[in-house]
Symmetry: C2
Subunit: 499 residues, 2 copies
């Protein structure tokens, strides 16, 4: 049976290597490809994707998988082999359940949807995007039904990004957060004038931003022998495998866009670099879920990176790069990087209001999928949701329903993982602090070895051995739990705004 | 039959797209991959290579090819379809004749040979490399015999890089060149003190070199919308397709290494960018031969780039980048960039002596392949050849037989194309001048539109429709002919050294 397992792994490796090649092409496209190279590149990437899909869904692989499953169930469930078989079963079932024709149609529609979305953004008019989104939604409904669910169609899609959690549980978590956060945001809004942050808004030299970003990445433990930082239009992380993890950032004129983007992607990258190298090209040689992935980026970006302790160490460093910060007191600086206020654009939102943008999308997605909300009524529902959550209304569709690329790509069910990541980031941080007294003092000294080791052991080194929910339970004793996150936000923002 | 042709092209496209993906991975590896990424990258690239080979050699493709050949022979031989079928037949036969086992063994041996070569270079001792080279040679002999030849084994290998020329013809061309060039080099050596070039040896700012290189590339017509320049340890050109052509350079402290390397790769790139975009992914969407490829790099690097006319325009530009050139007269500068002297290292050799390094390698390769020269006697034969050709003897194997990577990779039969490129570069230049009176005046004004147009029409736009020999005959009326090149070198160097 060991031999059958090895053959199964060898077959899986074909799919993994093709996916790795596709990831290199994608990184190149976003970072360095000359403009005219774009044409046709999508076809080559799609070819690799199709071949990877064929390798993963081959009948031979399916038969081997069925053959080794009884054997694997007899092994220690924490063993590499048992974990591989579990993870592969999940991946295989997902892949075979969506018929090849539908998968091809979804891929073509993703390209068409993206083009329509770009056009609609230029026109600042949702109606230009509407027919494409209607088609994307219809295909996504087909896909959800093909994947299978017990009545709640959203479950099938959510499960692709955050397995074993379920829509009902997400709804419960979000409802709890919403009840507490909407009034907190309201209270903060009324005291907006208590925090000055104009001195971070412009005049920050790009080359110095770049150098400072590298310095911070090195300090938190990003391994440049096994990764690199580049620039791209939208920051992202891509891991070809644990020993080659690429992150990107974008630099603007202000202090925060580049730096916090860099730390955010750095957090994703530390996760990817922490997966055992030996697991490369195996079903467990990846991450547990998107929620857990986001917990790592948010933990470094917000819980650590926007803490007062972090800047006790790094503000003097920053002052060497940016003389304008020379006379800014630490407390003023700390308050400025944490200023919160309702705004229109999710990716520019602060730590506190960010979640409200997610609640809106989760609600709209569920209503779209169930058929309660016709696509044509989406802009109105968006505005109404923004009013009730954030008490603001976007001036046009570009600042509203057209702001995110996700739906154009058929990525429905993805948004909740951003807030789940926030939730998990604080659960993990609190447990790490309980296990390591004095962790905040480490941060004060710019020392991140202990927190990184804790994350390595409890999160990164698990790879995809467990689902996100299970990993969190093993690491912290609880599945996604909004209470620590709420307590963290409440304490932080009450102190910041003197509430 | 049109349908069968289209299906044949669709099948070929699979191989072409996989090769394109492999080329992106290779570019990334040489330009940006972090150190630890190297491990395992070769396996992914090899996987893509194997899949491309499988797609190219599939029985279905072979049958389609046989089916459309009679139809294609009835078409205009210059038509896209007829050219595709001819080019594919050549490529297909080459691919199927080498058994998969042997191809795999050669690939593995290339990796092992490279490792042994690196080790031997560190030890400066050929004996460390000898066992690996013996094995590589044995496999290469097998490969040549599998490819087939009429008794001269070298023919089979040469044909991979320069089809339809033949070893005997190369030997004839090289003998003619050798007879004239050895005494010319001798005469030049005796007058070495007539040219000063120390003022180009150091102190050239890297950022200015980079900027000047970009300026020259733009001037000669490199299209940055369809390509880019990066840095790598060894300069190279790779074309993913005509609309995405990547070149690299390396910058040293001196004036010439970076700049002439950049122009050289720029010449290769102009060729690749000149292949019709619509031919991408077809059997003719590539270049005619390595000799023709090299003719383009040498034409721009040497015939144009080291001409006095070129520097009438560019020396004032260079002075803006490098103040140290401010008081160097044009004639002194021109002589300095053309100084010639016997030396040990091929890639650092000047335009004149370069060919003598090639004659040596061609001679040794033939004797190795025929069995006349045992591998163990190679270092001695190398030293002897250097003495008789260039009257110098390398101090050790590193400056001698261990200097080139080619043999470690099993690339035997490749070296002649460098001198064939030199030969063709002058044939093409002379014909272009005959067709365009005043072309040298264009160069004096930094205008390259007419020469590029001529090359586009007569070389680049042909893609792989014809072999290099045939392309040259169509463009200039003659196959590879050493006489124009000899006359060019003779006139240039007699003038330079007052002979």
């Amino acid at each position: 049976m060991r031999e059958a397992f090895e053959e199964l792994m060898a077959r899986y490796r074909v799919a993994a290597e093709l996916a790795e090649a596709a990831a290199v092409l994608d990184w190149d496209q976003q970072c360095y490809m000359p403009p005219a190279g774009a044409e046709g590149r999508a076809e080559v990437a799609a070819r690799l994707g199709r071949m990877a899909h064929e390798a993963l869904t081959s009948p031979e692989l399916g038969e081997l998988l069925s053959r080794v499953e009884p054997w694997a169930r007899g092994l220690d469930p924490e063993s590499f082999e048992a974990s591989c078989v579990r993870a592969l079963r999940r991946e295989y079932d997902r892949a075979v359940r969506v018929p090849a024709d539908l998968a091809g149609e979804l891929a073509r529609q993703a390209a068409a949807g993206f083009a329509a979305w770009i056009e609609a953004r230029q026109a600042r008019d949702f109606r230009v995007f509407q027919p494409a989104l209607e088609r994307t939604l219809a295909l996504t409904v087909e896909k959800a039904d093909a994947l299978g669910h017990g009545g709640e169609r959203y479950d099938a899609l959510l499960d692709l990004y955050e397995p074993d959690l379920g829509t009902a549980e997400v709804a419960r978590i979000f409802a709890r957060l919403r009840t507490a956060l909407v009034p907190l945001v309201q209270a903060v809004s009324e005291r907006a004038d208590r925090i000055r942050h104009d001195f971070l808004a412009s005049g920050f030299d790009e080359a110095e931003q770049w150098a400072f970003g590298l310095e911070v990445l090195r300090a938190i433990g990003f391994d440049f022998r096994r990764g690199r930082l580049d620039r791209s239009e939208h920051p992202f992380t891509t891991a070809f495998h644990p020993d080659d993890v690429r992150i990107t950032t974008r630099l603007r004129d202000d202090f925060g866009t580049g730096l916090f983007g860099t730390i955010h992607e750095g957090g994703h990258a530390l996760y990817e670099q922490g997966i055992p190298s030996a697991w490369r090209g195996t079903p467990v040689g990846t991450t547990a879920s998107l929620g857990i992935h986001e917990s790592q980026s948010r933990l470094w970006e917000n819980v650590i990176g926007r803490s007062r302790e972090f800047w006790e160490h790094f503000l003097p460093v920053a002052r060497r790069h940016f003389p304008a910060l020379g006379d800014v007191p630490l407390d003023d600086f700390y308050r400025a990087i944490n200023a919160a206020a309702p705004s229109f654009i999710r990716v520019e939102a602060d730590e506190l209001t960010y979640n409200l943008h997610i609640f809106l999308r989760f609600d709209l997605e569920r209503r779209l999928l169930s058929g309660d909300l016709p696509v044509g009524e989406l802009p109105g529902a968006w505005r109404e949701g923004m009013r009730s959550l954030l008490s603001v209304e976007p001036p046009d569709d570009l600042a509203g329903v057209l702001q995110d690329v996700h739906w154009s790509q058929g990525m429905i069910g993805y948004f909740p993982t951003y807030t789940l990541g926030n939730v998990a980031s604080v659960q993990l941080w609190e447990k790490a602090r309980a296990d390591n007294p004095g962790l905040s003092d480490d941060v004060r000294r710019g020392e991140f070895g202990r927190i990184l080791s804790w994350l390595r052991a409890n999160v990164h080194a698990q790879g995809a051995s467990f689902t996100g929910v299970e990993l969190l339970r093993r690491a912290t004793g609880r599945a996604y739990d909004p209470e620590p996150y709420l307590a963290y936000l409440d304490a932080k923002y009450r102190a910041l705004y003197g509430l």
